[in-house]
């Protein structure tokens, strides 16, 4: 066990897996010689050569499109999109090509690559360095969507992503990149997709979140009889853990950074009422980002931080 940040855990995992599997290739803007603007790919070029870790021209559509062809030909590309706010030039490649490749070719071709990208606010990044676009990709069949929230999860989920036969969007919480340290095993291990983590047990409210938000949720629930669930992956979704918890608590708060309207919280609320309607004792509460572009100066007012989540918890607990 070594204490690592998320950056260190990801970098360590990439080095470990690159040494084992020569199909692995990683690339992106500044991902080569420089090791990425967040240093996640640091040292890979020196260790494994320029062909396997390289800088790309500045085009997200190109990074993903190029990766699709490499994956079809049998390599395992790890595409880095520098900020998830810049994933949209690659949106067509992801949604129309990557996600549909296996299906539209009748299972003849597939492109199981991994797209790594930092997401979320709290770093004074304004709206082009702070967004959480996960919901946009959950509306597209064919993609796995992973939301990292700790160094331990970063390693275990990345190993699973690299073994996946399907394309994976791997969202990393940049506000926690260096601020959160945790013991991470040296040896390789994997965390299966679709397996949520119960971070704190409780019986009066179920509090659901993912990515950096789970730490706000934990802080909000401190000292309260609240079950805090970290979903880890949104597709596949661990609906079983959610249903079991809600049947026990009867009250639900869902918190995410992305704007509330048509966010993944809306889908969760629909699923919970479908499966747990007769167990609910209060309306499901969503505590999310506002329906505004992500602000710069006022990001503290926009984000569903711990005090706001606590307010939401108290509200659902008061409801009769």
């Amino acid at each position: 066990m070594t204490e690592m940040t998320i950056i260190q855990a990801l970098n360590h995992t990439l080095h470990q897996e690159f040494a084992k599997d020569e199909r692995l290739v990683t690339f992106g803007e500044d991902a080569g010689a420089f090791g990425g603007v967040f240093r996640v790919t640091s040292g890979l070029q020196e260790a494994f050569g320029e062909q396997r870790c390289f800088d790309t021209p500045l085009s997200e559509a190109g990074i993903v499109g190029f990766g699709i062809g490499m994956a079809q030909k049998g390599l395992k590309p790890i595409c880095e999109i520098q900020f998830s706010d810049y994933i949209f030039p690659a949106y067509d490649q992801i949604v129309n090509e990557l996600a549909k490749m296996r299906y539209r070719t009748g299972n003849q071709y597939s492109s199981p690559l991994v797209i790594r990208t930092p997401c979320g606010g709290g770093i004074h990044g304004g709206h082009y360095h702070s967004q959480s676009p996960e919901a946009q990709f959950l509306h597209t069949p064919g993609l796995h969507v992973v939301m990292v929230s700790s160094p331990y999860d970063a390693k275990g989920l990345l190993v699973t992503a690299l073994q996946s036969q399907d394309p994976v969007l791997f969202f990393e919480p940049k506000r926690l990149y260096r601020s959160l340290k945790q013991e991470v095993p040296e040896e390789s291990y994997s965390i299966p997709f679709g397996q949520a983590e119960i971070m704190q047990g409780g019986s009066s409210v179920t509090l659901i979140g993912w990515s950096a938000q789970v730490h706000q949720n934990l802080a909000a629930a401190e000292g309260m009889d609240v079950e805090v669930i970290n979903l880890r992956t949104l597709n596949p979704l661990d609906l079983k853990t959610i249903i079991e918890s809600v049947k026990k608590t009867g009250r639900v708060v869902i918190a995410h950074e992305a704007p509330i309207t048509a966010g993944f919280g809306a889908e969760l609320a629909a699923l919970i009422q479908e499966h747990c309607f007769y167990f609910l004792e209060a309306p499901i509460k969503r505590c999310c980002g506002l329906d505004t572009p992500f602000p710069h100066t006022l990001e503290g007012d926009y984000l569903p931080d711990a005090p706001r989540v606590k307010k939401a918890l108290l509200e659902v607990m008061r409801a009769v």
């Binding site: 559509a61 499109g65 090509e97 596949p236």
Partner: protein, 347 residues
């Protein structure tokens, strides 16, 4: 056009074996007859849609003839000729046009969205430019895997206005990927003529702009296309990076069965191209070599039409893909969630 290397049509011909020439002409004729028959089927309401490569057959067949099976192909919908060159059967093709249970893609896309893993032909995607970066990435993988082959990507001149064209060329050029970008400049993107598509002198200069060798050839000349692609492959495999080929041709037919070209172009313009028909031109060469006469062609046509008749009969007697196939292949494994959705969708 100073910056552009014009491809000389009189380059020494390397395709000279009788067998190759006969297969080429027969494949072009097969492509044309299959296209015509599929359009008739659509007009009869038997299939939903059809597209043809009428007048552009030399582009597909000439380029395929210069490559071998290990070279990956990323076609657009006007490249049925590459499939037939590589031995795809009319029967498999017709099953695809019907979208039935024996369609290799299980009816998941519209007709003319063919592909074959066994033949290294990547299934067509409707968006015209999105596969261009894929071909570049595939070629880069070949470089990394020390696989001595190339990827070839086909598209029309309209696709060159898409961002993916520029992205794909740039990535391939920077990474020196052994990729051949094959642009059929056929004059029209549905109804939009080239003069409303770009202000440049065609497509070839754009390749030069990205730092790659670029050829412009007569796309209706089988030998010119063949030589250009063969030269491009040799050049790319020598580590020189990608090549762009602009093949000048003309879309003799409609864009698709949903199109009516009389609304936007004059019949006289179409007439002018009839003399340049790629099949007529290749036929002349074979005639001089005593490899072709009217009787031989009639025999070919009869044989091809019979094969199509049989294929249509089989397709008409083939059921639709299984209902269960609706949820297969979205992911490597079918998720329980999709099984539940399919159950719920049942009446």
């Amino acid at each position: 056009l100073n910056a552009v290397t014009l491809y000389p049509n009189d380059l020494v011909k390397r395709v000279h074996e009788d067998q190759t020439l006969v297969h080429a002409l027969k494949t072009m004729i097969k492509t044309r007859i299959v296209d015509e028959r599929m359009i008739i089927l659509q007009r009869q309401g038997i299939i939903t849609f059809a597209m043809s490569s009428l007048g552009e057959e030399a582009c597909a067949v000439g380029s395929a003839a210069a490559l071998d099976l290990g070279d990956w192909m990323y076609p657009q919908y006007r490249e049925a000729g590459i499939l037939f060159w590589r031995g795809f059967s009319i029967e498999d093709y017709v099953h695809h046009m019907f979208g039935d249970a024996k369609d290799l893609i299980l009816g998941r896309q519209m007709p003319n969205h063919f592909g074959s893993r066994a033949l290294n032909v990547v299934t067509v995607s409707s968006p015209i430019g999105s596969k261009i970066p894929h071909a570049a990435g595939c070629a880069y993988a070949m470089l990394m895997q020390k696989d001595p082959h190339v990827a070839i990507c086909y598209f029309g001149e309209g696709a060159t206005s898409e961002g993916d064209f520029h992205v794909g060329l740039n990535f391939a050029a920077v990474r020196k990927a052994p990729c051949i970008f094959f642009c059929r400049n056929n004059g029209y993107a549905i109804s939009t003529p080239v003069e409303r598509q770009f202000a440049s002198d065609g497509i070839a200069p754009k390749g030069e702009g990205y730092g790659m060798k670029s050829f412009r050839v007569d796309g209706n000349d089988f030998f010119a296309v063949y030589d250009a692609v063969l030269t491009a492959k040799e050049y790319a495999l020598q580590g020189n990076g990608p090549v762009l080929i602009e093949a000048m041709t003309y879309r003799m037919g409609a864009h698709s069965t949903s199109d009516d070209p009389t609304r936007y172009r004059k019949e006289a313009e179409v007439e002018r191209w009839k003399d340049k028909c790629p099949i007529l031109r290749l036929r002349q060469v074979l005639e001089q070599k005593n490899l072709w006469n009217a009787q031989i062609e009639e025999e070919w046509k009869t044989e091809i039409n019979l094969e199509i008749d049989e294929a249509i009969l089989k397709a008409q007697n083939t059921p639709k893909p299984n209902r269960e196939s609706l949820i297969e292949g979205v992911y490597f494994e079918v998720p329980e969630k999709l099984k539940a959705q399919l159950d719920e969708a049942a009446l």
